[in-house]
Amino acid sequence: MRITDYKKQKPAENAKDALAKAKALQPVLNAVVTFYEDTKQQADAADAKAEGLLRGVPIALKDNVSTKDVRTTASSRILDNYVPVYDAAITEKLRDAGAIFIAKASMDELGMGGTNLNAYTGKVNNPWDVTRISGGSSGGSAALVASGVVPMAIGTDTGDSVRKPAAYCGVIGMKPTYGRISRYGIIPYASSLDHVGFFTRCVEDAAVTLQVLAGRDDRDLTSSFEPVLDYSNHLDDRIEGKRIAILDNVQNAVKDEESLKQFDTLMKSLRAKGAVIEHITLRNDLMQALLPTYSILANAEATANHSNLDGIRFGMREPGASVEEVMINSRTKGFSPAVRKRFVTGSYSLFVENQDRLFRKAQKVRRLIVQELEKALQNYDAVIACAAGSIAPHAEDTSEEKLSQTYLVAENHMLLGNFSGYPSITVPLGFVGGMPIGVSLTAKPFEEQQLLNIAAAIEKETGLADQTAEVKA
């Protein structure tokens, strides 16, 4: 069902059905941290509205979105008892549009991970094969959309955390331009890379969602003044004359023959419809540097951002004989080993003696990477590539050879969208061995309409709009 279908039904029925399905699937998917208890009241409030782009539509929020009076843990033990006293900007916007919140969705702790294995409530299971991972960090949101619980869920994307789980779960995952959606009230990971994004099952719903969420917010000092368009009414799936560049660095690094074959078939059909499809290669040394640059910048920013999580003013407090001991005990017990190890890496690159060699160096390499992408996009409307190097792996298969081209480039190329801030979307491409695969598209800054239009053309070719995984409760 699409957003328009939900809007034709009674909000109370939508809320009841979505909540019941989410609860029934929870033992199988483990996608939810907290269920809303006031869905009936929310539905009544939506019912009383004359209009709203999401009037009466049930949705899920990633658990790093601040929700007044509703627990918000970011899937971390240190925030397990945290109840925000204010709403995020997007929480207000979604409520104003008539959305009904049914659940706060699981994520990798504080957004730090790409598997959703590192959540305080445990692994999120992929709706297409529950023995496999959902991907992360917005894994709970991806699973809830893919399994048909809700037509849309909010995620955040610091290093492909919407777009990778979208590919693994066979749904649309969009991260618009940096500054397009306010981040006020989002528990941060790395401020120079963090974006709000979302999951849907069709491009039309992605256009509606973007329209609801986009716009300037004075409370987020990186929020853009660029005007918001009527994305859904301008949706146009005609591909003739569009110029699309295949990113060969990625295609050459993907080893899965079936994924490459399906990608080539799609390119042929787009070409047959009049698209101009050409190949580009970015500097390989810069592509190989994506992950190390990200590791340095994201971990350093996270270390600084999360210095306020100490158990003193909010969050889980552990006893200690002094303030310092309380902080150390609270942070030791409050963060998982994986997160503490990332903080150590971040702190290492911020040491005075390492700042020029690592942190500043990474910031300079970031500029070179972005200049390379900017140059490539001068001649094209979008850059396209396989979203990931493989289908969603099993939990035990998530560690690969960390210096291979497949890992550095095929699995991490979507970082380009975070470094540049350019809008980027994952669209379902097909299935390999019963598991979904996707393609990634990136366009110029604030060209979300262009991106959505090309995504709509791809969706038309694949015929994969509105697909849901049949999950047995």
Partner: protein, 97 residues
């Protein structure tokens, strides 16, 4: 170049106010080997004359707002999530001994 021994990681962790177990340090030592190799990929790139990129866009989006009171949290709301509150203050172990 650092030795990345146990004491080094303990020191790093304590500076950012947490502890690491011996097993976690063992894992970090392994992870740092990969990290150092990955960072070498970065070091090979010539960045002479390149300005650091801090945020994606350099267009001005921040400014000093009007001096008007907006979005105020009450003291009660601000203290609601603290573990121990007495007489409008957050209580912590005694600081001055």
């Amino acid at each position: 170049m650092e030795t990345f021994d146990r004491a080094y990681f303990k020191k790093l962790a304590h500076q950012i106010m947490f502890d690491l177990s011996d097993q976690e340090i063992d894992e970090l030592q392994e992870e740092f080997k990969v990290l150092v190799s990955q960072m070498e990929l970065l070091e090979k790139i010539d960045t002479d004359g390149v300005e650091p990129m801090i945020y994606p866009f350099e267009a001005e989006t921040s400014y000093i707002r009007e001096d008007k009171v907006t979005h105020v949290l009450s003291a009660e709301a601000a203290l609601r999530n603290a573990a121990d509150v007495r007489e409008g203050h957050i209580l912590v172990p005694k600081v001055v001994k």
